[in-house]
Symmetry: C3
Subunit: 273 residues, 3 copies
């Protein structure tokens, strides 16, 4: 049990792991992904040498497409007990662990994919290939992971409202301007940029890095109670008549499948009627 | 009574109103404007279908010039009782209503004009034609609407201090960089950009939009008590000898009139001596 | 006593002082610098006419290099008693005094040099010549001045983590994008820009400026207790075996001396092993 099937962990060095998401056809997050992430989290928190973990994707078109809405009714499970729902348990622990986490983003990061990136300590994205979006409102739900909480903190209330109420796609340059990501990097330089950053960070004393992250964690992390409130709103939206009526139409157009609808999801969900 | 004379309400769709400000010669806000805005606010809050309201101006040179200082001594009145002074009542209610508000800005938005834009949920401005400023200190007062509170939140303390202590004009690009507005848009694209954004938003479920705004309203809205403190400082500045001596000089130069002084107000108030 | 030897105060006008740092070979801050700054602070706080103070450097290569680690073990002294350690006393008082402070930055501002700039109300930097960094982690310490507190507020948690955990150098454009500084200005325009800004500000009523700063000081200033916690972590890092082992190696490469190592400190400390 606990074998990772969606995440490949490449222990490049004792202090540096690269974790690659691979869940065809389009890297949807489902209850199994979250179970695996929590299993990985146990390892990240307890490894005696680890300093930095980078999350990327095996699919250049999709960092993480979004949540698998076909499995939205399924209960999420956790490898061990927690007071928090599994996803909020994961994002809270990823922020709070003193291991440094970096999202290296190519392709689409929408919904929980954006929220996954937002839960990492830093985000670097391909200038040409990364696409960001929180398209939840289009299917009658609100962001339920950490999108409301993190975007209002990083981008400010006005831009968070624009992003979330429009449900639209944002290119990497705009995401950088809005503070959604640390930086947009030309695609050919992205891997090198992240590798060099990791090399620098991991050349430093582990205890010092942990102390620095601890001090910087005093600001900018939302309280779990805020995320719980968003999650409750997400669930009640998901069970609404409106969503139950909208979802089949969206599946019929190609939701969750490799193809034109998912590639241009931000545009398409703005033209569902 | 309650007839709008300064604001034209164009009910483009049951869920989308465009409200246009027109108060010649240069779109000054006066006590009548605020009375009308509060009347509109009653309608915005209670309409059963409304999702989005866009505020713009009939005058391409002036979104809102600033407060009409010739009527600064006049008591502001409200169409119904409130614990808050009329302007703070308006900005607080505009933030808190779950209807989405967008400022589409061409021309000058200074003083209370900037503060009006800041009270809207989002702000999009003409790259070539929008100009922003909080020139209050030049006449011996401080921003008394929401400028202190919103700029320190959206632009950070350092840039808020720069903007407010300099009293200078800022172009749309700089305003975007500072977070004062969501985005600067090329003038020829501005109308289309806002219309398309509204079309998207209003294609979504009303209850979901309201829920999203409610959750995003948990951060980034100043407390009314903070605005009351700024207002008290504004009033005491306005009644000071310094301001009473400065104002006639500024009127003599062209304050409140269509002309060169108002067009380049930011520059001119930095050279009053 | 209290003679300034490192800081030259040019009282350009009764309401405008320019204070220039000159501590060869590379403008290191040492206990004497802090003593002098606190002496200046007494004058800034009590002068009846002063409105604006600009801090700059006599050395175009170094605004402030960083703390003089050769004197790191030395007790810092204060010209008068305070409940706070001298440096935190200084930054707290600089934020809280109602005199406006501006950092005009050419050359390197690293470690306490960046923290000095961050303690000023506004920061304007040469686009070509300014360099920013918080390289503390490279020698096993954390920022102990106000770097953790101010960068997380101005740049957000994600970018503060990147800056501080990487210990890298940042050019002025990136610093502007991150909110570290108000603006990057072309080098040939920087002096003129700051002089014109000061001229404008000091043309306004002193009491009004003070009232505006007081109101803007309600947000964005960290509590002294937060800075004390960072300082405690800094000191315990400085006394650690790791740092005591690293420092001699770094001195051997050229730390604190005019030369290649200091010029490219951000790059070099990422390649110490």
């Amino acid at each position: 049990m606990n074998m990772n099937t969606q995440f490949t962990v490449n222990r490049k060095m004792p202090d540096y792991w690269r974790i690659t998401f691979h869940n065809p056809p389009i890297n949807l997050v489902d209850p199994d992904s979250i179970f695996e992430l929590l299993t990985l989290m146990d390892q990240i928190e307890t490894d005696p040498d680890l300093k930095v973990v980078v999350f990327d994707s095996a699919d250049p078109e999709y960092f993480i497409a979004h949540y698998d809405m076909a499995r939205a009714g399924e209960q999420q499970k956790s490898p061990k007990e927690s007071d928090l729902p599994p996803w909020i348990d994961f994002t809270t622990r990823l922020s709070n662990t003193l291991v440094v986490s970096i999202a290296e983003i190519r392709g689409r990061a929408r919904g929980i994919g954006s929220e996954f990136a937002l839960a990492c300590d830093m985000r670097f994205a391909s200038q040409e290939r990364a696409v960001f979006g929180q398209p939840e409102v289009a299917v009658g739900v609100v962001p339920g992971g950490d999108g409301n909480e993190m975007l209002s903190r990083l981008a400010g209330r006005a831009r968070a409202l624009e992003v979330i109420l429009s449900g639209n796609d944002y290119d990497a340059q705009t995401a950088e301007r809005y503070g959604w990501i640390n930086r947009a990097i030309p695609d050919v330089e992205l891997d090198g940029f992240v590798e060099e950053l990791v090399r620098r960070i991991s050349s430093f004393d582990r205890q010092t890095l942990r102390e620095a992250k601890r001090l910087l964690n005093r600001t900018g992390i939302p309280d779990a109670s805020e995320m719980l409130e968003s999650r409750t709103a997400f669930i009640s939206g998901a069970m609404s008549n409106n969503t139950q009526k909208r979802l089949p139409k969206v599946f019929a157009r190609g939701l969750g499948q490799r193809g034109d609808f998912e590639l241009h999801l931000g545009h398409r969900v703005g033209n569902l009627e």
